[in-house]
């Protein structure tokens, strides 16, 4: 068959799959970036030795476990502690002084995945003497990654790689003070997570639940199309107190989004913004 026709059929199959997931389970991926969706779905088709996207659709409709697998496939759970250390350095320099002025602090990690960034934040807050007055809400669409995040146990070889990040991010102690290595695992001090609440939350359909002083959502927006980016950023804007802070991924931007006017940039390379007072 003509290759262009095949491409057209494949795109129709992808649309039908997205509709099937929505109609059957309520997860709405219509406004996810298409190239990303398609790549992840075709990867799953190949791994399962299926003939087409349509075969995967059938599998998902009749088998809830397949849906859970797809949810995992579609969220990119590639992360590390103190990733892009400059970001945490700027948080310490430009945001911590502001946080110190509040008697209590609400922080929302949206799309927290397996929790590396939440742990990084807890360590930073502890070093700045803020952990005890902080309530951290760490949310993700995916139950399975939240379980990993709650445990706070990571592969020791990864953790060693993150030691550099910690130091570059302005860490004040030795990174190994925060975990105990056991066989090939690093078990982090559970005390760091005592003020953290892990919640299932779907940015596409769920509403706000917090008056946040700080929201962290890095490298999540790139998987959404413009319309959904605007919608999610409006949710964040609504969830932040006036003067509240948002940090996004280094290749993400509020420029050209619907909330741009409501924020001012306070660290341009590390993409930290402050919600204007009176908004």
């Amino acid at each position: 068959m003509d290759q262009k026709k095949l491409l057209e059929i494949e795109n129709i199959e992808l649309k039908l799959l997205i509709d099937a997931i929505y109609l059957s389970y309520g997860y709405d991926f219509k406004n996810y970036t298409k190239s990303h969706l398609k790549r992840r779905i075709l990867r799953r088709v190949k791994l399962e030795n299926l003939k087409s996207i349509t075969a995967l659709t059938e599998k998902i409709l009749y088998d809830k476990d397949s849906l859970d697998q797809i949810l995992l496939d579609l969220s990119i759970n590639v992360t590390e502690m103190f990733r892009f250390p400059e970001f945490f350095k700027d948080l310490r320099k430009d945001v911590v002084p502001l946080l110190k002025t509040y008697p209590s602090i609400n922080i929302w990690h949206a799309g927290c995945s397996t929790g590396e960034e939440v742990m990084s934040m807890a360590i930073l807050l502890k070093e700045e003497g803020l952990l005890n007055r902080a309530s951290i809400y760490a949310t993700d669409i995916n139950k399975k990654v939240l379980e990993i995040a709650k445990d706070g146990i990571y592969r020791v070889e990864d953790v060693k790689k993150w030691t550099n990040n910690y130091q570059e991010a302005g860490g004040k102690k030795s990174f190994s003070d925060y975990y105990v290595a056991k066989y090939d695992h690093a078990i982090f001090d559970q005390d760091l997570l005592k003020n953290v609440t892990f919640l299932e939350h779907n940015l596409v359909i769920d509403k706000t639940f917090i008056n946040a002083n700080l929201i962290i959502c890095r490298n999540v927006l790139i998987y959404f199309n413009k319309k959904l980016q605007d919608q999610v950023l409006e949710l964040f804007e609504e969830s932040l107190i006036p003067g509240g802070i948002i940090g996004i991924g280094s290749k993400e931007s509020l420029k050209f989004t619907s909330v741009n006017e409501k924020f001012k940039s306070i660290a341009s390379t590390t993409k930290i913004y402050k919600k204007k007072i009176g908004c």
Partner: protein, 189 residues
């Protein structure tokens, strides 16, 4: 065939090769040139190298940015670069492909789906096989394929694997690729 976009993939040896390929291009080139090069450093300062070589705008591709004619875009380091149906870019942090992020295959495959027979894919010097499958996809959807002559390439692994997948690719030297692109600009006027 009217060419609507050019995608270029290269790795080891690519910084120098691109200096020849992109030399003296004039803004009459009514199409975007989108490039993946595997390098360790960040690409922000990188575009400056090429800015002085021609009169086109050279920049790093941004997430959700609209793709414009007469602009040379580089994939940011450490992100995959894709092209969407509405002629915008998207970035992604998913796992490496062919040990690479950005991956040439990802750019080429998504570009092929959007531009189909209006796409020109070019593979230059490189020391791994990234880009071969992407070039194959370009060929299948009716696009044109050019591969740097492996005999003259600084590293021949990338051109040779591209040729293995797309034997019908046109073999060219860097200078002739440069002339070809310039001529394409004229054709599109």
């Amino acid at each position: 065939m009217n060419c609507k976009a050019i995608v270029i993939g290269t790795s080891a040896g690519g910084v120098e090769a691109l200096k020849i390929v992109l030399k003296d291009l004039e803004p009459n080139i009514k199409l975007p040139i989108i490039i993946v090069i595997h390098i360790r450093e960040r690409t922000e300062g990188f575009s400056k190298i090429y800015q002085t070589l021609n009169r086109l705008t050279v920049k790093e591709a941004e997430d959700k940015e609209e793709i414009k004619d007469g602009v040379i875009y580089f994939a940011p380091s450490n992100y995959h670069l894709s092209i969407e149906d509405d002629y915008t870019f998207s970035l992604s942090l998913e796992e490496k492909v062919n040990y690479s992020r950005p991956s040439i295959d990802i750019l080429f495959k998504t570009a092929a789906e959007v531009y189909t027979d209006g796409l020109l894919g070019i593979i230059l010097t490189g020391a791994n096989s990234d880009g071969a499958l992407g070039l194959k996809k370009i060929e299948r959807l009716g696009g044109r394929c050019i591969v740097q002559d492996p005999k003259a390439a600084y590293f021949d692994i990338m051109p040779l694997s591209a040729l293995k997948y797309v034997p019908s690719s046109k073999l060219m030297s860097l200078d002739s690729i440069n002339r070809y692109i310039k001529k394409l600009g004229g054709d599109n006027l």
